[in-house]
Symmetry: C3
Subunit: 374 residues, 3 copies
């Protein structure tokens, strides 16, 4: 990736003037909850349900009440903050020249991002928090038109992107029924649809039921394409907002311990997240899942190849017992079922609604970067 | 309710300088038509249909043609203007200081409104008629974002709110399929959905199939919530526009006689309307309905406790025969079926399309008041 | 039609100063492809399918590969560019005074347009290409609100109109489920719906499943109505964009030969197009279709009465063999099935995606003309 000439970063090395650097040492952890609907869609609901009823609630998490009352969690489809040990690190600071073209043409998967660009994107997302409402900056996408092409409904993700576009003064063409494009034709290709829609809009946000669909769309389109979830493939803006939330909540990304708990076999979010976490130093990942839905080998091999430490267990208690939850963060992509009781919502460590809001800022940042650059 | 210090009202007492007061004495009446789909949804379609076929057309309204030709109406699911006797009254005039915060955080039910605030809201609605199109005033909600969260489809109500928002320069996030939020989760709570959506928008307009849902949403949300109909509960903006229409058509609200005709047992609009009418002086209400769908006791008890005179009958002719329809107004919430023939549409007393348009002004007023105050 | 006083045209006669006139002589042809879903909707899928499988591929078009490789086409549901002979003509130039009211109140069918107004509309469409994005001209519809009232889904047409409106700074009220208006009422008339919606918007774009519905809507509405397809009736904006595309691709409209190939019995587009082509001089039309779906007599009689030469055949090869495809243009309303292979897409003569984009410009022009005039 060709970075702009003004690109500078410092990670314990050079610190440009005027940049505030904070070194933090503390025990902190992040909990990432995984929702189960994806596994249900893929036909695993029966086994998951069995897990929930017997394995997870009884043996997997023998004391299901422990976390709902004392420790934030309730059952096995949820997740657990795991404490950071030997935590240290400097905040990364990266400057990309304002007004320059964004390095990416499309947002398709988590592998596109390296640490530097993540840091820079998160900085833009922080700026977005300030211009969310009413300020003069909120017209930077005025005159731009985003088409949301959703081949499967996802009101939550669609509204998040549409809110992001409108908060920046842009406009939206909505279709929740993108399949109708093809049903009318009983067989119009995705490529033909894209070539029509790119004539109507400046950017396409696509949600599709097939893995790889977003990449095909991007290959065809002359305008930017954002993958808003393609079947069992990826959902990169979700992964970005997860990492952004960790940074916002914890204050750093190096030296963290992250527990990923739930159905790890079928969650596209957790796969994207694992890719992103591998960009940071001294990250340790705990995969906590019953055997039937454990993390697949490709991700574990990838992490090993990147030198990321990981552990795998079916017993959350075993992992949790080592942990101090004092600085923990509980995350969840939402929607939740009964993984986390509402009692937890008022706990300051419950970050899932802030996490949802962060999705807005990340999407504002991505739309801004793809349409008008840095 | 704490009114602002600059609040002034006069009702036969003190009249501030610069306020035009008009005393009117005339015989006037209002007809309020009720549509039947609500009762059909509630499983009463069979009995209603039986009424329509036999009871209503034959005995309830023996001469179904009388009103379609001579008196504006055609069958029993419609309503009747009833003349005002001893009509008198002063127009209320209320001044709330411009720029001050609106007294209500949410619009949930008709009981929230007293006479003073109704008068003030109607004044804002009148202003909205002037700024409906193209004027400089139409950008007062620029930068604001409304989410329409419809758990059951209601294209008419949704478009009315969305037009109101856009006429004031605001933007809209639409979801006609709000159930999909929860279907994806097979059980996400309304509260969780609200906490997510409040991160994307500045105000929520909710339509729900359960009574009380809007109140639960408002309790959760940190942003204003408008109830656009919650099952058999209330539909306050509809009741407000009904009363506003009466005032616009008749010129006053004290001393009127109102006939509410049709399915009175299941119509949420008529319930909300009865609450609002009780705020005015010397109002007389005629409930005209077949026995199976007569007005429930709670409303009748409420009116009695407020000193509102009401009568109940199953025979529209009996009531109508006492009336002079010269100043009558025929209203209907729409959509209509065969309650009113199209012959009536060109009669100046047919107010139902003006009533629909008034819905726009009322909703513009409510959005303006909740988002930027007086 | 009363044209404005400043209206001037020249067709080999008077040429106003400052207008560039180009005389062109060349052999050119236009191919117009017809999609088959319309016939499928009308219950003809079986016979069409039979044609596709046996008649069209075997006898109707014995060498189905001929055109996909060498001549642009592949099978019988597609169409064919036919060369112009003795082509000549001057470009028409028409000036309508800027700021004057548009001559039409509504866009309902192709018969509304004469040659002069077509020329003038196409000139506005050309201007729209320049102001599509970001320029100051793109706010000319600011403050205007368009309601898309779609009684049958057509995402493609809807997005095209909505993009056109938003590209000009206007706003949109969307309903893909306009039937719900009436389903709620189980029988609300179109007229009642229109009288409600006209209170919310400044212009209505209607798609309906019944022929004549748009005309009924226009008769009722006090605001402009655009017919976006009414059952087997017309789809005038599609016909306009077809003719506009021919002019943009070929540079003229007089003296062209046009092959219309496919299901000619049920395609509303081809009927509207035949009406429009009759406005030009020395046009020759070839109707190429199997007997079961040949062009109906009313159009053929109309063309004869207007002096337009036409021929009818079931054998595309017979017609095509006379032709030189050097200047041909392949058009298709999209979506396509297997009428044209993707190999053709990269051929510069393949105009169908440019044609779709032209639909945007034509719709921008129509919206501008109906709402703010010339």
């Amino acid at each position: 990736m060709a970075l702009s000439s003004s690109f500078t970063m410092y990670e314990g090395m050079t610190v440009p003037k005027g940049v505030v650097v904070s070194a933090r040492k503390c025990s902190q952890g992040i909990m990432c909850c995984l929702s189960s609907p994806i596994s249900q869609k893929l036909g695993l609901s029966k086994s998951i349900s069995a897990c929930s009823g017997d394995l997870i609630r009884s043996s997997f998490f023998p004391n299901e009440e422990l976390f709902s009352k004392n420790g934030l969690l309730r059952d096995g489809s949820c997740c657990r903050a795991l404490e950071t040990e030997k935590a240290f690190g400097l905040e990364n600071a990266i400057a990309f020249s304002m007004g320059e073209k964004f390095q990416l043409d499309d947002i398709l998967d988590a592998q596109q991002f390296d640490r530097d660009i993540l840091t820079a994107i998160f900085k833009v997302a922080r700026d977005m928090e300030g211009i969310e409402k009413g300020s003069s900056g909120s017209q930077i996408l005025k005159g731009y038109l985003m088409a949301t092409l959703f081949y499967e409904p996802s009101t939550r993700t669609r509204l998040s992107f549409e809110s992001a576009m409108k908060r920046l003064g842009g406009e939206v063409l909505t279709t929740e029924n993108a399949r109708e494009f093809s049903s009318a034709a009983k067989g119009e290709t995705l490529e033909d649809t894209i070539r029509t829609v790119e004539g109507y809009a400046d950017i396409i946000v696509i949600r599709h039921f097939e893995s790889g669909a977003a990449r095909r769309a991007a290959f065809t389109a002359g305008i930017p394409v954002i993958n808003a979830g393609d079947g069992p493939g990826q959902h990169p803006s979700q992964a970005l907002l997860d990492v952004y939330t960790i940074e916002r909540e914890i204050g750093k990304l190096d030296g963290i311990k992250v527990g990923l708990v739930g159905d790890l076999a079928n969650g596209r979010t957790v796969r994207s997240l694992a890719y992103l976490l591998s960009k940071y130093q001294n990250v340790k990942i705990y995969f906590v899942a019953p055997d039937v839905v454990r993390m697949k080998d490709d991700i574990k091999d990838y992490l090993t190849s990147k030198g990321v430490e990981w552990e795998e267990t079916a017993d959350l208690m075993e992992v949790a017992s080592e942990c101090d939850v004092k600085h923990a963060v509980v995350m969840h992509p939402l929607p939740r079922l009964d993984e986390i009781t509402v009692d937890v919502d008022s706990d300051p460590r419950a970050a899932y609604f802030r996490q949802a809001k962060n999705g807005l800022y990340i999407r504002m940042a991505l739309l801004k970067l793809l349409l008008v650059g840095w």
